[in-house]
């Protein structure tokens, strides 16, 4: 060790310059790829379904990196951590891309592009069922109202008859009277209940529509409080505001701290990171419920939010190590980041390899063991044909056993070159994990009404690659811009000394 570093020598920060060619290349790839993608979408409308999955895959992958970056930033503040100050700006720069990715996700959300209905079948199914039920309701309405009115009349007559019977009795015994009176009360209640029903045109139609909706799509009817368009839009807005808002606020305070060194910003970041963990977790959980679990509206798992969270934190840490190494290779951050930081990041990567595997295995295992049809569906698709090999090779061996074994070795975590290699592998596995979450649904969903259900759509991988490259370009362009816009590490952070002199 070259002696104790003094934070005062680092108060000016370090600016990222250069890579402007790369940035232009990213912009070109992003813009060009996106244009090509959407030209293809409108030129070959038959492929809309297949292409919608490609776009979702690309968006979710990069969004998971950004959300992971936000998680690491918040964790750093919430645990009052000292080690990570010098790499925190990278996490913040990753997190701030969340709003950008929401813009990129817009084609998925706006129904006129045609992606939304292809991805989330409950949208068209719900619309079709509702309009069908409505038609039926309109047809039946007159007859129904007449029937109900006749029913009301009959009930009233019954009440009148009962009252008359009671009046006609010359000297009823107390028991008989009591019995008769109780009968009258219950008949009156029945009549008033019938009368309470809204038998206006809208009322009757709505009752009948509900009835038909329940009969034709019972499951969707039960979920109508959650799976309906207006609430869905409210939720999307909530995700954007919460995730994007937290990222923006935390980064802006951190950059302000760079300028004036006022510990107030530091205290705010800490305080709000704790308080906002709960909205953060809620937003990410329900986002992946809506976007990914919703690919098959009948399937469910309480673990789903945790599973996607573990993947996001894992992939994001791998990406941070890669980004850090590339920056150091280009000559930045060399004085501030040491092997000790690599070692900790390697350990966190290992922790999340294990945590991810723990969550993934538990989810698989419990569904496999209980063997309930509604739940096994998800894994049956992924254990069929091509996807079976894929699962074993990438999800089991590639995503867990390989990085787990490699990261156990202490020396490897301290060597940037080797840790970089492992992180590239981990990031690739995270890509394959997101692919595995989304794509097995594509074949069966799109060919559900065809003669033979296919597991894979031939040639669709081209769109996957195109979408991935396009979103990667956009992501890379904005990431480079954010890197440029402030110091590469929080240069006046009160914990800077501690982080600079980190010893594990």
């Amino acid at each position: 060790m070259a002696g104790i570093k003094n934070g005062d020598d680092f108060r000016d920060g370090e600016r990222f310059k250069g890579a402007s060619l790369l940035q232009k290349l990213c912009l070109g790839l992003g813009a060009g790829g996106t244009i090509l993608f959407f030209v293809l979408r409108y030129a070959t409308p038959a492929n809309t379904g297949a292409m919608s999955y490609s776009w979702l895959f690309a968006v979710v992958f990069f969004l998971s990196l950004a959300v992971g970056g936000l998680f690491w930033t918040m964790l750093h503040h919430a645990t009052n951590s000292g080690w990570g100050t010098v790499v925190r700006r990278l996490m913040e720069n990753l997190a701030i891309l969340i709003p950008v990715l929401f813009v990129v996700a817009l084609p998925l959300l706006i129904s006129s592009v045609g992606f939304r209905d292809a991805l989330w079948e409950w949208f068209p199914l719900r619309a079709a069922t509702l309009s069908h039920s409505h038609e039926e309701a309109v047809k039946e309405q007159a007859e129904y109202v007449a029937e109900r009115k006749a029913g009301i009349d009959k009930a009233k007559q019954e009440v009148a008859q009962a009252k008359k019977d009671l009046a006609e009795l010359s000297s009823p015994s107390p028991g008989h009277r009591f019995y008769m009176e109780r009968e009258i009360t219950s008949l009156e209640k029945k009549a008033s209940a019938l009368e309470a029903e809204d038998l206006s045109d809208e009322g009757a139609i709505s009752t009948l529509t509900d009835k038909h909706f329940l009969h034709s799509e019972a499951l969707l009817y039960k979920k109508r409080g959650y799976l309906n368009e207006s609430f869905w839009w409210i939720r999307q807005l909530f995700y954007l505001v919460v995730l994007g808002g937290i990222a923006a606020v935390l980064r802006s305070w951190s950059v302000k701290l760079d300028k004036d060194g006022d510990p107030r910003w530091f205290r705010w970041m800490r305080r709000w990171s704790c308080g906002l963990l709960l909205p953060f977790a809620t937003a990410w959980t329900f986002l992946v419920f809506d976007w990914l679990m919703g690919l098959d509206y009948a399937w469910f798992s309480t673990m789903w939010g945790v599973y996607l969270f573990s993947g996001a934190a894992f992939g994001s840490m791998a990406f941070l190590i890669i980004l850090l190494t590339l920056l150091r290779r280009a000559g930045y951050l060399r004085k501030v980041v040491t092997m000790e930081h690599y070692h900790i990041m390697g350990k966190l990567l290992l922790a999340f390899v294990i945590f991810w595997a723990y969550i993934a295995f538990s989810q698989y295992f419990l569904i496999w063991y209980a063997h309930i049809t509604e739940e096994t569906k998800f894994f049956i698709t992924r254990n069929t044909e091509f996807w079976n090999t894929y699962t074993i090779a990438f999800i089991v061996i590639g995503h867990f056993f390989v990085p787990f074994t490699a990261l156990l070795i202490q020396g490897w975590k301290k060597k940037p070159r080797i840790l970089f290699g492992i992180s590239v592998w981990c990031l690739l596995m995270h890509v394959l994990d997101v692919y595995w979450i989304i794509m097995p649904d594509r074949g069966p969903s799109l060919t559900a009404h065809a003669e033979k259900v296919q597991m894979l759509i031939p040639g669709a991988w081209v769109y996957d690659v195109l979408a991935f490259v396009s979103v990667a370009g956009i992501f890379g362009y904005f990431l480079l811009r954010m890197l440029r816009s402030a110091s590469l590490y929080p240069c006046r952070d009160p914990r800077l000394d501690e982080s600079l002199n980190l010893v594990n």
């Binding site: 104790i4 934070g7 000292g82 019972a218 499951l219 039960k222 979920k223 409080g225 959650y226 060194g261 510990p263 530091f266 205290r267 800490r270 704790c274 308080g275 709960l278 977790a281 959980t285 419920f289 009948a298 469910f300 798992s301 309480t302 673990m303 789903w304 939010g305 945790v306 723990y358 969550i359 538990s362 989810q363 295992f365 419990l366 569904i367 063991y369 209980a370 063997h371 309930i372 509604e374 006046r492 952070d493 009160p494 914990r495 800077l496 000394d497 501690e498 594990n504």
Partner: protein
């Protein structure tokens, strides 16, 4: 001009010393190494205060009640419990999971916090590990007697025998046997290894020969040499790494006991992490319940400081909120899944069933009450911390009660519905298990150092090789006085 700038610099607060930024010391009042040894060993070497006896006698009575009710149970039969047809798992399994959960904080503090370099663990790890071992002992009693014929409990172990018994390796109940016994073994070894240097300190300070011999036997010839420390620390690190998966595995397997079934209310995929979070939650609450009085009683305020209590309160807040997340996920998915059995099970759990009171007790104790720890004043008021910790202790018992009997009491067919309430034998067993637990813990206080002396010394600022020599000198002089 130059002089004033210089003066400003000297008086200015360094950013890392600013309010809300500075790291708090882990040992207060700059206590010296000798003071730490004297204070902790003093607990073992001096006479116990009266309150120790006031607690010890009822604990032994509770333990005897446990022995008596177990004797009555075995001699009469499991029928003396309140279990009935749909509810075949009652307080026995509730208590088992409750105690196992409490046993989790020990390994978390000793292993995971060790690996993550959380230095504040040193003041609590010894007591937490002891608590873990005693809690697992209490837990082990319940499934052991739940099997019915206690003298045949060895059937659970896959050992060669001539009876043609083959254990059902497909059952999570059997995995539990392995998980819990492994956990117990590793926790015990970990605890003992951590004790060795401190046992040597007690040996060296012993005044009677018998005492010297006994502590000397268990200290395994520890002399505190450089080589011994090197090997010791490596062994401790490896044990910590080996113990870490156990923090997850034990309660995961316990959650499998329920979640692998198809009983609505038991089968849900979030169970493993939810159980682990709950176990850590309950374990930390019990550590606080024990440590707060001990701290006061034996004058350990400088070693077990507000900083420690603050951290533990925050962990309780975090894990309590995670548990709350799991409750909400269960409720949401029971609605979202649209599965009639799931929906009904949760409807009965929260609205129409016979045990809704238990659900709301659980929810209040586990999710609502810890939210007060968002406020600093609450984390720093020992009474508030103590009361909330006990709410959590109760809440975690209710959680297991809500999961186990309430799901069983409403089977798929209304003809198989029932109601379960515990008999006096079950109640005595539960109270008695607390007696056993407290008895063991009080004996631990009496005979072993409650705080890891050597580890606390390691986190003192003067243990840092870069600690300025002039400060060391000053400390040395103070020690002479």
């Amino acid at each position: 001009m130059a002089d004033t700038t210089q003066a400003n610099l000297l008086t200015a607060v360094h950013p890392s010393e600013a309010e809300g930024v500075a790291r708090e010391p882990l040992v207060l009042n700059q206590r010296s190494l000798g003071w730490i040894t004297d204070r902790i060993c003093g607990i073992v070497e001096n006479r116990q205060p009266l309150i120790w006896w006031i607690l010890f006698v009822p604990s032994v009575a509770g333990f005897l009640a446990l022995v008596f009710s177990l004797f009555y149970l075995v001699s009469t039969g499991v029928g003396v419990w309140g279990m009935n047809h749909p509810v075949a798992w009652g307080w026995d399994i509730v208590n088992f999971v409750f105690w196992i959960g409490i046993g989790h904080a020990g390994t978390l503090i000793s292993a995971i916090l060790f690996l993550t370099r959380q230095k504040w663990r040193t003041s609590v790890n010894r007591a937490a590990e002891a608590m873990t071992i005693f809690a697992v002992i209490c837990a082990g009693i319940f499934p052991g007697f739940h099997v019915g014929r206690f003298w045949m409990v060895w059937f659970l172990a896959p050992i060669p025998n001539s009876n043609g018994i083959w254990q059902n390796f497909k059952s999570p109940l059997l995995w539990d046997v392995f998980a819990v016994s492994t956990y117990f073994t590793v926790s015990l070894i970990f605890w003992y290894v951590g004790l060795i240097p401190d046992l040597a300190s007690l040996r060296d300070r012993a005044k009677s020969l018998l005492r010297k011999r006994i502590y000397g036997f268990f200290a395994l010839g520890w002399r505190g040499g450089n080589r011994q420390w090197r090997h010791y620390e490596m062994a401790y690190l490896l044990l910590a790494a080996l113990a870490t998966p156990l923090v997850l595995s034990v309660h995961t397997v316990v959650s499998f006991d329920f979640a692998t079934s198809v009983i609505p209310g038991w089968h849900t995929t979030i169970f493993p992490p939810y159980f682990v979070a709950g176990a850590i939650f309950g374990g930390f609450a019990m550590v606080l319940t024990l440590m707060l009085p001990i701290r006061k009683l034996y004058g350990l305020e400088d070693l077990f400081t507000h900083k420690h209590i603050d951290n533990m309160a925050k962990i309780i807040l975090l894990t309590g909120t995670i548990v709350g997340y799991a409750y909400i996920m269960e409720l949401f998915i029971s609605y979202y899944a649209g599965n009639a059995y799931e929906t009904d099970a949760f409807h009965m759990r929260i609205l129409s069933g016979p045990y809704t009171w238990a659900y709301y007790c659980m929810f209040f104790c586990n999710v609502i009450s810890p939210q007060i720890f968002w406020f600093k004043w609450a984390r720093h008021n020992l009474w508030v911390v103590f009361i909330i910790a006990n709410f959590v202790n109760a809440g975690m018992w209710f959680e297991r009660f809500v999961i186990i009997p309430t799901s069983l009491a409403r089977d798929f067919l209304p003809g198989q519905w029932g109601y379960y309430s515990a008999s006096w034998v079950e109640k005595t067993l539960f109270v008695g298990s607390f007696g056993l637990f407290l008895m063991l813990f009080l004996l631990f206080l009496r005979f072993l150092p409650v705080i890891a002396i050597s580890e606390v010394k390691g986190v003192l600022p003067e243990s840092d090789p870069h600690y300025p020599a002039w400060k060391r000198l000053r400390l040395g002089r103070r020690g002479e006085k």
